[in-house]
């Protein structure tokens, strides 16, 4: 009887301690990110569904993404988007370094790394704006027209539908992701200002930076999948 009571008392779920080992705010950020992961997965899975359906008439990404904005006549597939990927991964690293500096209550380092992260996000957004402008104005790929038809032996009867779907899915998914990056940049700027005012120093911990960091890494995580599914495969 008494041993049973001891077991119950020592159980993590028996009250008096935090079962998940994280604070309320961080746990809720994880739950929000989980719901956001579901949203993105429905978009990406529907992309995969249409792509499998339209095989082999799908647009070849090598053809769509072979230009570099500003540079005429160069065929260098994936170079521009490779740069964007690098920028986003690097801004994730500066975010982790900001969180790490927050653990040491180093206000100046947190501020500097947050600023670098914000710059990374702004560079990424600018690149995406350039890429979209290039695709829409120069190449003429919009939500209801796509100049890149897949050329396959024996004709491509479903090609028109497939290529228009490609444009729609591309602009929807990268647009939704870009909007997440934009919100991330705005939130990062708010946190940068709050860090500068010494709010977290007074509070005694930099947990807000950790929560914002979780969101920022999630944006990076989604980009890893978007990059593979749209540009590589």
């Amino acid at each position: 009887m008494s041993s049973e009571a001891t077991v119950l008392k020592n159980s993590v779920w028996n009250g008096g301690r935090v079962p998940l080992g994280v604070s309320y705010g961080k746990m809720m950020m994880w739950f929000f990110l989980l719901s956001d992961a579901f949203t993105f997965s429905t978009l990406l899975v529907s992309y995969g569904y249409f792509r499998i359906t339209a095989q082999p008439g799908w647009v070849s990404p090598e053809k769509v993404f072979e230009g570099i904005p500003w540079i005429e006549g160069v065929k260098a597939p994936l170079v521009f988007v490779g740069f964007m990927t690098f920028v986003l991964i690097f801004s994730s690293v500066t975010m982790v370094l900001a969180v790490e500096a927050g653990h040491h209550m180093n206000q100046k380092r947190v501020k500097n790394f947050m600023l670098l992260t914000i710059f990374g996000g702004i560079i990424f957004l600018s690149c995406q704006a350039l890429e979209w402008t290039n695709l829409i104005i120069k190449e003429g790929m919009t939500m209801n027209y796509n100049p890149f038809l897949a050329v396959i032996p024996g004709g491509n009867p479903q090609g028109l539908h497939a290529s228009i779907l490609f444009g729609q899915l591309f602009f929807t998914i990268t647009g939704f992701h870009g909007f997440h990056v934009l919100s991330g940049v705005v939130i990062n700027i708010i946190m940068y200002i709050k860090t500068g005012r010494g709010d977290f120093q007074r509070r005694g911990h930099y947990e807000m930076i950790e929560k914002v960091g979780l969101y920022w890494h999630f944006v990076d995580l989604v980009w890893v999948f978007v990059f593979t599914l749209f540009y590589l495969i």
Binding site: V45, S46, G48, E62, I89, H104, H205, H217
Partner: protein
């Protein structure tokens, strides 16, 4: 790794009204910064590898390059595997999930089974709706 285990144990012993103790306990500056850069270079290496596979002529066999070495399906599976590996590094190390308590890890990862289920269903369904 042992540091984190010790930290968690420390947090348990403290009781946990003050979880800040768990989160902001002992940290080793050099070790964790070194690990951050190590993860960055691993991810950079994976990305470069993906570029090499995607851009080197003669590796991939598809409609544009019929003489490639590896069939397209295999290349796609390699790309997806590398992507999941990168996702593991982001979620595990950058988002710190690997060092959280096992309850937290299950809370986040188990719901993703629904996404796996959705992918499975739509891959099965996705053959032939234009036909």
């Amino acid at each position: 790794m042992t540091d984190h285990a010790a930290q968690a144990a420390h947090g348990d012993a403290e009781g946990s009204h003050d979880f800040v103790i768990i989160e902001h306990g002992v940290h080793h500056v050099d070790a964790s910064r070194k690990q951050i850069w190590r993860v960055f270079f691993v991810m950079l290496f994976i990305t470069v590898l993906e570029f090499i596979i995607a851009l080197t002529p003669g590796i991939r066999r598809n409609e544009l390059h019929p003489t490639g070495l590896i069939p397209n399906d295999v290349v796609v599976i390699i790309f997806l595997g590398l992507t999941v590996l990168k996702a593991f590094y982001i979620v595990g190390y950058f988002m710190h999930l690997k060092m959280e308590r096992i309850n937290m890890i299950y809370t986040v990862l188990l719901p993703l089974l629904f996404i796996m289920y959705l992918i499975t269903l739509l891959v099965i369904e996705g053959t032939g709706s234009f036909r």
